[in-house]
Symmetry: C2
Subunit: 418 residues, 2 copies
């Protein structure tokens, strides 16, 4: 069978499975997910054994320590995977919710009701827990999922997916509701994302190269997650202690994630008070600072930030700093260099806060809070299928709701159009 045919068959089966999953009640879905969690705990040793095979290949392939760590599953992490499934059970069922209802003058009653999307393709890398996260969220939202994980985690992913399939089977649901692409050939992704009519949404969870490749080939909607070049702007009226705390947290707490700060903007009137001490604290934490001329005047011995720095997502202990004239200039900098992910202002001025909130067109705009809060769990969504840097369908942290569509149900008494 050619790859084209193989992929099409896979998607067709996922589509019929989706029809079955869409009809499950909330309690049926929760029952399945609880069984999955139980089975994951029960099969801990099996998963660890499969994971060890992945790890063995990885070591011979010479992966970095960080990547090996991301890939490794132990008893505790598997427990975490099972608990995460139980957390999904506790979430409100997103399907069948009446978003709006109204009556028309001609007596028609209209309801706008949430429905599943259908078949969702998720392409991801490394961490095998993503397999379970995505499968549980797609099932909970009444969708089928086609999973395509990284090759290095293949056996671990397959072990986890097989548990889902086993539970689906024992509940008489087509196992293709959770499908794992087994063919290593990368061209399979290109084929998958062209299956308009069979696949309803593609979520590439990976680096920019992956997303761009998917975008180029795709004929179905894609939720994109490009970079997060996040800013913190410290206004002249800011509480300096608060500003310090927020800046430290946004940069240092976990520098490798998309909602970490990459650029600090400081109002010129507060810069002399704030920057020398704050810079010292950052340097103590191992942060490399790159400043504009004004910053260099206040903090000696740091590198000059160049044009490229303002547009770079470091994902590392590096921070660019610019001193700005006012809130407008800070906003302008963000409009020019930001990525529309998350930006924060620290201020005691209501006026500055409102200007910032209104003019900064980012999926999350923070006032007096760390950029690190831009996250599905922190927002209370309970789970996060991704963070969208797109404005269409879903924007920012994307929970279960992002995996739904809606339909209009119109009930009449024989009305016809005149």
């Amino acid at each position: 069978m050619t790859i084209k045919n193989e992929v099409r068959r896979l998607a067709q089966k996922a589509k019929s499975a989706a029809e079955a999953v869409a009809l499950l009640s909330a309690s049926q879905k929760n029952k399945i997910l609880l069984s999955v969690a139980r089975e994951i705990r029960k099969k801990k040793n099996f998963i660890i054994a499969e994971n060890k095979k992945d790890l063995a290949c990885t070591r011979s392939a010479g992966l970095s320590g960080a990547m090996v760590d991301r890939l490794t599953l132990d008893a505790e992490r598997i427990d975490g995977i099972a608990s995460a499934v139980e957390d999904v059970v506790m979430l409100k069922d997103p399907i069948g919710r009446i978003i709006e209802k109204w009556k028309r003058p001609n007596g028609l009653s209209i309801q706008k009701v949430t429905v599943p999307l259908g078949v969702i393709v998720i392409i991801y890398e490394s961490r095998p827990n993503v397999t379970s996260e995505c499968a549980s969220l797609c099932l909970k939202s009444g969708n089928s999922v086609i999973l395509r994980g990284g090759r290095e985690a293949f056996r671990s992913n397959k072990a986890i997916a097989s548990i889902y399939q086993q539970i689906l089977k024992s509940n008489k649901i087509p196992v293709e509701a959770v499908s794992l692409v087994e063919t290593p050939d990368r061209s399979i992704i290109d084929e998958l994302v062209q299956l308009e009519g069979l696949v309803n949404l593609v979520i590439p969870r990976g680096g920019e190269a992956l997303i761009r490749r998917v975008m180029e080939k795709s004929r179905v909607p894609v939720i994109k997650h490009y970079k997060g070049i996040c800013h913190v702007y410290v206004d002249q009226t800011a509480d300096t202690k608060m500003a310090e705390n927020i800046v430290m947290n946004a940069k240092v707490q976990r520098p490798g994630v998309c909602n970490a700060m990459e650029t600090l903007l400081v109002h010129k009137k507060i810069a002399p008070v704030l920057l020398p001490h704050l810079a010292q604290k950052l340097i103590e934490k191992g942060v490399e600072l790159r400043g504009d001329l004004e910053t260099q005047k206040l903090v000696s011995g740091i590198k000059r930030a160049n044009q490229k720095d303002w547009d770079t997502e470091y994902l590392d202990l590096i921070l660019s700093i610019r001193v700005v004239d006012d809130t407008s200039q800070a906003i302008k900098h963000i409009q020019e260099h930001g990525s529309g992910h998350t930006d924060a202002i620290v201020t005691r001025s209501k006026k500055a806060a409102e200007e910032f909130v209104k003019k900064v067109d980012s999926s999350s705009v923070m006032v007096n809070a760390s950029t690190r809060f831009a996250d599905g769990n922190q927002y209370g969504f309970g789970a996060e299928i991704g963070i969208s840097t797109d404005k269409v369908h879903a924007r920012g942290p994307m929970g279960l709701e992002g995996l739904t569509s809606y339909k209009y149900i119109v009930r009449g008494k024989g009305q016809v159009r005149t």
Copy 2:
């Protein structure tokens, strides 16, 4: 200047204009739109004169009568265009609406607030009133619009767009908030839809070939409107009089539109009572019937429907008819042959209605009402920018809300993540 550069410049200007339009208050936007309506009425003769030039070219190009009619503007139609703008003024402002707000245990207060999408590209054909419709809806929702109308309506479209630009200018808004692509070269569309980061949404309002072409080239989200193969299923418990009215309305009232019925499914128990009389009425109205074997037994002298018929959007006075065993078979037929647009059931059985509503995965599902109601105006949206046959972002009739995105505004008192 190459087309690539020209298009990029156009989109960049539309993007800066979008930043200005996004900040307008509801009353500022309404004031602009009311001025536009007034100016359209005032410049009636100018628009008619420009339209006449289009018509002159069209006649030499040998367009069909229907197309010439769609293109023609007279005093009454221009009045209609102006009134439609006034109707948009009356709509609730879709921007700045708090969709949800909540507080987190750590004291963060979160609001999910509607914002404009940014720059919207609309590609359309023939009718010049679409120019004004799209421009008014995009302005009302705080977006910039790049319009690409049909070549045959170029002067008419330009006349209408120029009125928008004149009013924008006198209100000190960048005129590029309403841009009309003037270059006739079709490759300009291919370039436009690749401008990721500058264009936020593409809405092709035209035939399938246009949509497919856009989909193939696009790197930005596209709202698709494929065909409407709409079904009416008459259940055994249906009121036959009601069934007749709905079928006649769905087929005959305006056969050339996407929410008209293309296939009639009739329960075998009601077929002998319903079909002979109904068929006669349809034939009287000039409808060509194509039936399955069972239908042919009940209605003599009609053609046999072939496999292709079940998958065809006739957009004409042609109707396929199939007799089915029960509701399940009707649903299965719709799942196999429908296009997910609009399908209706006529029934007195609550159970049949609920099964149909639950299992038919179409953007509009009607119970005892004509498929012809699937329409933004009929749903009370006041205006319709298109009908989406996609499930992502917007589904079904799409009003102002479909032209918005949202952002999260998070307000704290210095919270950091632990």
